[in-house]
């Protein structure tokens, strides 16, 4: 007689808890459970017991597979200047991620221009100025309160004129519930016409990660993701939630505050973290 649904639920319970405690959003965990149960129903109890962990890992790696991608193979052959716009909610680590990427690009021999597109928050322009100075990279900025789209445009014109390889556009943090700020983000995209829009997510985030990624994707379209603060011992289940929500490559994870603390994302590393 095949294993029943109730028994299957019991088998899955521990693994379900492990995922939830790793900050995988509830909606994603329930979808994974549905997938696994579909594959296990009808097996004998003994077979199911042996297959359950493997089936779970397979369901998860299928989600993560959709978010694998190599940043450099994506950009190296592309026409230059290659324009990247960074977006995300307040405090997620956008400005720091830009500095780290600029550092990485410079080490690989590329030239960069950074656009100080956060003209709203106290000290935002100065924060980028400090990074640009540390890294010896050109920063384009306007006055506090200026139009972010104008700063982006200015930086792109500069990059074209001086044959720079990359333009990295910083933007202000914003809540996906703020209609005006979502509209402002759309406007910056319209003016800058970026080659890539990167969503910067915070590994400390719980279930809201899905909501954020979905909404930002709806408004401007996300091409890639960077997940920050993975070094804070957050298991990083948000990686799974975001991958599930928008199915876009997770290019890098942030593992600290230094310029070298941003490394390529690998699915097997994530599996090890959740199950290891």
């Amino acid at each position: 007689l095949g294993i029943g649904e109730k028994k299957l639920d019991e088998l899955l319970w521990q693994l379900e808890m492990a995922l939830l405690e790793s900050d995988v959003a509830l909606e994603v965990v329930e979808e994974i459970k549905r997938e696994v149960k579909k594959n296990l129903l009808g097996m004998s109890r003994k077979e199911a017991k042996e297959a359950v962990e493997r089936a779970l890992k397979e369901a998860i790696s299928n989600i993560l597979k959709q978010s694998e991608g190599d940043f450099f193979s994506q950009v190296e052959k592309a026409e230059k200047p290659y324009v990247i716009m960074f977006v995300g909610v307040n405090g997620s680590g956008k400005t720091t991620a830009i500095a780290k990427l600029a550092h990485m690009l410079k080490k690989k021999g590329y030239s960069c221009v950074i656009a100080a597109g956060d003209t709203f928050r106290a000290g935002a322009i100065e924060q980028l100025e400090r990074h640009a100075k540390n890294l010896d990279i050109k920063l384009i900025k306007h006055d506090f309160g200026a139009d972010p789209a104008a700063v982006a445009y200015d930086a792109i014109e500069h990059a074209k004129a001086r044959h720079k390889d990359f333009v990295l556009i910083d933007t202000a943090g914003r809540m996906q519930t703020n209609i005006n700020l979502m509209e402002e983000m759309r406007k910056i995209k319209r003016v800058a016409n970026p080659d890539m829009i990167i969503f910067v997510g915070d590994a400390l985030t719980g279930n809201d990660a899905i909501e954020q990624a979905r909404r930002f994707n709806e408004v401007v379209g996300i091409d890639g993701v960077i997940l920050t603060k993975v070094d804070t011992d957050a298991k990083g289940g948000a990686a799974l939630s975001i991958a599930y929500a928008i199915k876009k490559p997770l290019y890098f994870i942030g593992v600290g505050q230094d310029y070298d603390d941003q490394i390529p994302f690998r699915a097997d590393w994530m599996m090890e973290r959740i199950f290891g």
Binding site: L20, V89, A122, G123, D202, G206, T232, D233
Partner: protein
Amino acid sequence: NFGDALKSAFRKIANAPFIDKSLIKEVVRDIQRALIAGDVNVKLVLEVSKRIERRALEEKPLPGMSNREHVLRILHEELASILGKGRELPLKKQRIMMVGLYGQGKTTTCGKLAKLFQKKGMKVALIAGDVHRPAAYEQLKQIAESINVPVYGGGKTAEKTVKEGLEKFSKYDVIIIDTAGRHALEDDLIKEMKNVAKIANPDEKILVIDASVGQQAGKQAKAFNDAIGITGVILTKMDGTAKGGGALSAVAETGAPIVYIGVGEHMEDLEKFDATRFLSRLLG
């Protein structure tokens, strides 16, 4: 969405002629899902739901109370007992130290608190105790200028900056100390925080936590509390969609009440904490 999960749970129970064990189990499962989706700590959810299940079966509904009201009342009581009441900061001469993880809103909240005390007629000053983040002093300086409050900063170490700032502002009523973001595993930053707390001997040590923080909330809150002792919690970014379930763990681990919530980026975006409103929002 989980507001619907709970509505359906209570529809089941409302239409039942009497409460039985399997129905309660079903309703509790829906409650669990709502709480987990709201970022409440998973182990805490399991604990609370066991209690709700037991009480729903053992206790008689109060006279005139429907099945649904019976379970809802128990649910609210259980969560409210963890959360406690809000507490506003007293209007007295004091030093307030702000701590927390990266990007939670500490620096911004320093400004909001400063504005709040200033409006009540007190002499307020700010100390830029974050010497690590690029332009942290600059950020606090601009915030201070916008609300017309003096600020001290620019020292080489956090300890030195705080010591000098306290000397400079000795005649002030309320001194608010900003500190750098840090997390539990960074020994030297935890040590720095302990040193600053020793030097400043603050009346209030406030843990600033983002409403969207997930399962890490309790663990990190415990680490901050073990290090310096937390006296209050401020939950920021409640103007988003996040439910703030992590706050339950932060309160449970620190024993400290929530003192305010942040509802935006401007200096006036600070509200008193209302436990009832928080819970009805958490439960969708």
